[in-house]
């Protein structure tokens, strides 16, 4: 397997990551030059062939999303980059935004070219203030070099600008419709769907929303071809994935992992996780952010790929891998996860607002030893209800981690029941 990085290849090699000259010297903007010469249908075909799946967490095929917008009439079409990276354990977009921002800009420019979009937005979480400054510098230098503005690359009518929008601390704004509401100057609460954002998006106009890493993959696909991109990864999802490793593994940080790499290598190989931090065996992992499932040793094996994980009822999600060693209680971990959702629930729909709170109260009982016989069943039922009845992805996934804990380590919950 070829382990040469494609997303992180320029990182550390540019003295000034915002410099168009350095970026171009390392292969930058070659894909955009190609794109303006290509038939739009051919660009879409390459992305289809690449089987690029959304890197924000939902893993929706990017080619399909682009085609949906392509088939929709109505102008203008907006290009929006979701840089609200708020899933705990995820810090990979930060690396691209700060250290190779022009690759994200180039990906957005290819989209602008395909959709004849005049205007793009990137929504960067408020906590990433310095990241945002770095990105602004890249936008400014791209504009100064003629890669943003009017008649880009000399193509008459290829006009595109990127505006940076700051978040102000709301996890739910990572949900694409909430993010668009936030850009529109509203409280960042999700919309009821349908209509889908491809039809009714920003300012009621057709809109493409992709994650930072997804946009950064686009130039790679055009440069090496969709087929090569697919072959770099796995059949069910091409390319490489940026993985954020934290918790109790030796090497914490962002790693570029070809999809299809043995899962155990991602955790234990020296080039990636490097094994347990203090020598205590890893008890469980938390994959893809707080909305993802816990993974236990008996599930760890096979390939780190979309299907490889789905087969084990796991998910890649944002690419977060939080490792926990034997010192951590599954019950206490579950409680902390639910605390997060209680804090971040936007309050718009009742199952999520009240349901997460009631689940937390019950989990607190398990931690304190006040849980009674029948509470496991009660917990299980509440998880089902909250996830089935909530309006958006936040509530629908709020119980995933606790449910997986309950499924695989029921005994730990049973042990906390008094009497």
């Amino acid at each position: 397997m070829n382990k040469e990085p494609v997303l992180l290849k320029r990182i550390g090699k540019m003295r000034d990551p915002a410099s168009v000259e350095e970026y171009t010297g390392l292969g930058g903007f070659a894909a955009l030059r190609k794109a303006v010469q290509m038939d739009k249908e051919d660009i879409l075909k390459e992305i289809d062939t690449a089987n690029l799946r959304g890197r924000g967490g939902a893993a929706y095929p990017a080619g399909r999303k682009w085609r949906q917008l392509y088939g929709i009439e109505g102008t203008p079409k907006y290009i929006v980059c979701n840089a609200d990276e708020g899933e705990p354990g995820t810090f990979k977009d930060k690396v691209l935004l700060e250290k190779d921002p022009l690759s994200v800009i180039e990906g957005m420019l290819v989209a602008a070219c395909v959709f004849d979009s005049p205007e793009g937005f990137i929504y960067i979480r408020g906590e990433y203030h310095t990241v945002r400054q770095a990105f602004q510098k890249a936008v400014d230098s791209a504009a100064a070099a003629g890669f943003l503005g009017k008649d880009i690359l000399g193509v008459k009518g290829f006009d595109f600008t990127i505006t940076i929008v700051s978040g102000a601390g709301a996890y739910v704004c990572g949900e694409n419709s909430a993010l668009l509401n936030s850009i529109e100057g509203k409280t960042g609460r999700p919309r009821v769907k349908p209509p889908h954002l491809a039809e009714v998006g920003l300012n009621q106009k057709p809109t493409l929303v992709n994650n930072v890493e997804t946009f950064a993959c686009i130039p790679v696909i055009l440069n090496i071809g969709g087929k090569a991109f697919l072959e770099m990864g796995a059949e069910d999802g091409g390319g490489t994935k940026l993985v954020s490793i934290s918790g109790h593994l030796k090497n914490r940080g962002v790693f570029e992992v070809p999809l299809g790499t043995p899962f155990e290598d991602v955790l234990y190989a020296e080039e990636y996780g490097g094994g347990p931090f203090e020598g205590k065996p890893i008890k469980f992992l938390h994959l893809g952010g707080q909305s993802g499932p816990l993974a236990f040793p008996e599930q760890i094996g096979g390939a780190y790929s979309y299907k490889g994980l789905e087969d084990k009822k796991l998910a890649i999600g944002s690419g977060a891998i939080v490792a926990m060693d034997e010192s951590v209680s599954v019950v206490e971990y579950s409680k902390k996860v639910m605390e997060f959702f209680v804090y971040e629930s936007c309050g718009k729909c009742t199952p999520c607002r009240i349901g997460t709170t009631r689940i937390l109260e019950l989990l607190e009982d398990f931690v304190s030893g006040a849980a009674e016989k029948g509470d496991i069943e009660k917990l299980d039922a509440m998880l089902t209800q909250v996830m089935a009845l909530s309006a958006c992805g936040l509530g629908q996934t709020a119980g995933v981690a606790v449910r997986s804990a309950l499924t695989h380590r029921r005994a730990e919950f049973e042990a906390r029941i008094s009497g």
Partner: protein, 147 residues
């Protein structure tokens, strides 16, 4: 003003304010600037976690307690901070300089446990570095970034 600048404008006003929050006057001024009802702007200020509608201490120490940090000893960091400052979460020290509270993930899990003060994240904290950070802030020096 375009609506996409609203959060930026609110954050900038808050940062420029003496007590680190958006008072009624600030809300009214922003409402006028954006041609929005004051209640809407207030709703937004009260919705987003980084926007404050109450006076704040000069330095608010935000301790990440999402799971990657929490189980990398951020609970101990909280105990050290509470010990140093001798105030409960949310309360301000007598001199008005410090308060502390928990915050969800700030996206620095690779250097957890972390404290965020304004726009700076201090990571890989130990009891000693927490002590030094508070001392530095108290002496109006920029805290060193420990990592």
């Amino acid at each position: 003003m375009n609506k996409e600048n609203l959060l930026d404008t609110l954050l900038a006003r808050q940062n420029a304010s003496k007590e680190g929050y958006l008072d009624r006057e600030a809300i009214a001024a922003v409402a006028e600037e954006f041609a929005m009802p004051e209640t809407r702007v207030f709703e937004i200020a009260s919705y987003y976690a980084m926007l404050e509608i109450e006076p704040q201490a000069k330095y608010v120490l935000e301790i990440c307690n999402s799971t990657p940090c929490y189980f990398s000893k951020s609970n101990e960091v909280a105990a050290w901070v509470e010990g140093e400052l001798d105030v409960k979460p949310g309360d301000v020290t007598g001199d008005g300089l410090f308060s502390w509270h928990y915050t969800p993930c700030v996206g620095a899990c690779d250097i957890g446990p972390v404290i965020k003060v304004r726009d700076t994240v201090y990571g890989d904290l130990t009891k000693e570095t927490v002590h030094a950070l508070i001392q530095d802030l108290r002496n109006a020096k920029n805290g060193k970034k420990f990592r």
